[in-house]
Amino acid sequence: MGACSSSMEERGRTTLNDVAAAIEGRFGNDISRTPASHGCALTYSLTKPSSLPAVCRSLFWDCGCLLGGIIAEEQPGRWQMHYVFLLLLSGWIDVVLTLPIETTTVPSIVAEVHAADWHEREIEDLFGIRFENHPRLGDFVLHDQIWHEGIDPMRRNFSASPAQLGKQLDLEWQPLLVVGDPGSFAMPVGPVYTGGLGESLHFLLETVGEDVIRAIPRLFYNYRAVEKIAEGRTVPDALLLAERFAATSAFAHSLAFCQAVERIHSVEVSARAALLRVLFCELERLRQHVAAISAICDSTALAVPAAQTSIITEQLLRASGILAGHRYLFGLNVPGGLSRDFKTEECRKLLASADEAERELRVLEKRLRYSSSFLDRLEDVGVVKGANARDLNLVGPIGRASGQHCDLRKACPYSGYERLTFEVPCETEGDGYARLRILFAEAAQSVRLMHQAVDALEPGPVRIPCEGNHPGAALGWAEAPRGATLHWVSIDEKGLVERYHAITPSFNNWLGFFMAAENFAFQDFPIILATWGLSATECDR
């Protein structure tokens, strides 16, 4: 295992006080510190909007924070924008920008923090706020050949009910081409390809022949406006959406949502519920990582290991079905804990399945490590250098394969992870093989965590009442199988959801995908895609 240039522990030496001193020393007149709220460790209110890019630059580059995301909220008479950063091992830092509702333009931070690119594009497309000097706004979530510019579905006055408003299929529409060399052409792939067994998304492969110069993904084919239709729903109804927008990481997303609601209600779940949540989180990670390994084997046409791993996946799905009553762990998380309790012997049966999966994975990993024809196709393929991974804020196994040593289970622990013993593997090569090794190493750590969670189970309640009217807003987060997920939930005085925003690992990482897909041979494309293992539907919401 290659050592990471800077581990979480090393980078975590910067404390909140260091950051506060640096920010307040430099921007003292433009910002004011407010009591930490919404689950953040440090909250600033920005009084001078024009200094926003400099403040964000200082947090991201000088203080070494990661970008959590940007959350826009339309409140009566004003806009509130949260620029959320993560200081490793210390917590979230929220820079709040409040603007009058008439505001149409906000300074863009994308020139300083490249990772903010898609966050700003999404807000521009859905709220209609323009970001000054952003290089590329427009066609993003709402596809331009269907939707006119000027439709802002996330605005309060926009009704989510079925409407043909402004829709007009534009058959002449053409995507923007970047490569302009003579003889170059663009090959469109998708949204329906590989017989539909891949998720719906579209690539424009720009090529001058055999080699592809770049592959530009176009997403949001699966955009179901989950955040819009969640508005005005009760918390249990909105939870159904949080659980079902990306089923392969349903438990992690529903956990992040529930934790946000619990924070609003100031409810702490019982120790038993927290441990059971760890058990299911790690089961989901194990299953998802095995499925990702299976997809990598499949992309290199290595049929036997692909079949073996797909059997392990199915066996883990069945084990989930036996224990939890649902193969994808729906219906378990509720605000305040879990919807039902589990007997220890039931959990032990699950552990037996996990152990068997781990044994088989270990044998498989060894065999794959000695299959030179397989490794040839992964090594030096789809490389993302550490500096680029930092620049574009890559999260999850993909970030960790490129030296981005960050895992929310350690960097900002939740659900009792701070009391459990596990390692966060890290690699530096940033190629397909590094990502495969990370998946194997993390799957083994997940089994280790599942054992610890079951061993530590003590009798007790699994559900603490988490009802009643507590208006407020909060963040909830979890390390989903594909990386950090951050959910913002705001509840009004009637107990209905006012704003829900899910910042998912796939949304984060699709932004950086183009870096791995530059100047490659066409036949490597499925392999690059598989080693990234991104989900379109998790990004689209």
Partner: protein, 226 residues
């Protein structure tokens, strides 16, 4: 075991109040209380398990997987002619799916289900496809691609909606971005309810579409109250 998550089925309770409770806890109105009985619409059920664990007297649970059925509108006589029964080419379209149904469809290719042995094949092109298998509630951005896929198929084409979202819109329902099911875009011939339906239920649907399983509603396997 674990092959199917099971699903709630019509239940006779001992009092109308219990039936009312079951109907009230369902977040998608899939349960209708009629006197002491609670009737389930499987096409709407999103498998939230609230009627199993969230009320004192749970609904009856069907542990089976023979869930596929002809669609109410275009299901009549839609079974493929006999020449398709040993070779059916299927094209899958993800029309806003959450990934669960798609993942279960993919499982059909693993050695445990091995749908090739039954003469079912996935194809990447609509020109060679007999059956269009659609997952997801049909998002607005996918509507055009879905229609084009269907139009490119030969005229013996049939459409199968897999999952509650593809049948009724599921938790996403109908909105400015969601068609609320495949039925509002294409003529649907077969339905496989479930959220998601397990691989065996989808396989049951394929067997039914090729006339190798009866196209009548099969009796649920009673597991009793658990």
């Amino acid at each position: 075991m674990g092959v199917s998550p099971g699903r709630p089925v019509n239940t006779d309770f001992s009092s109308p109040d219990e039936a009312q409770l079951a109907a009230a806890i369902c977040p998608v109105n899939a349960i209708l209380a009629q006197g002491k009985s609670a009737l389930v619409d499987p096409g709407k059920c999103v498998h939230c398990l609230r009627c199993r664990w969230g009320i004192p007297t749970p609904m009856n649970w069907d542990a089976g997987y023979e869930w596929a059925r002809p669609s109410a509108g275009n299901g009549e006589g839609a079974t493929f002619p006999a020449s398709f029964s040993k070779s059916l080419h299927i094209m899958v379209v993800d029309a806003g799916d959450c990934g669960a149904c798609l993942h279960e469809v993919k499982q059909l290719n693993n050695p445990l289900y091995n749908m090739h042995r039954l003469g079912f094949f996935f194809t990447a092109t609509p020109r060679a496809a007999d059956l269009l298998l659609v997952v997801g509630p049909v998002s607005e951005n996918m509507r055009g691609a879905l229609q084009k896929s269907w139009e490119a198929m030969p005229s013996t084409r049939r459409v199968m909606a897999v999952g509650s979202c593809a049948i009724s819109g599921g938790v996403f329902g109908r909105s400015f971005m969601c068609a609320g099911g495949v039925g509002s875009v294409l003529p649907v011939n077969f339905e496989v309810p479930g959220n998601p339906p397990p691989p065996l239920a989808i396989l049951h649907g394929l067997l039914m579409a090729t006339g190798r399983k009866p196209a009548t509603k099969s009796e649920p396997v009673a597991e009793g109250r658990s």
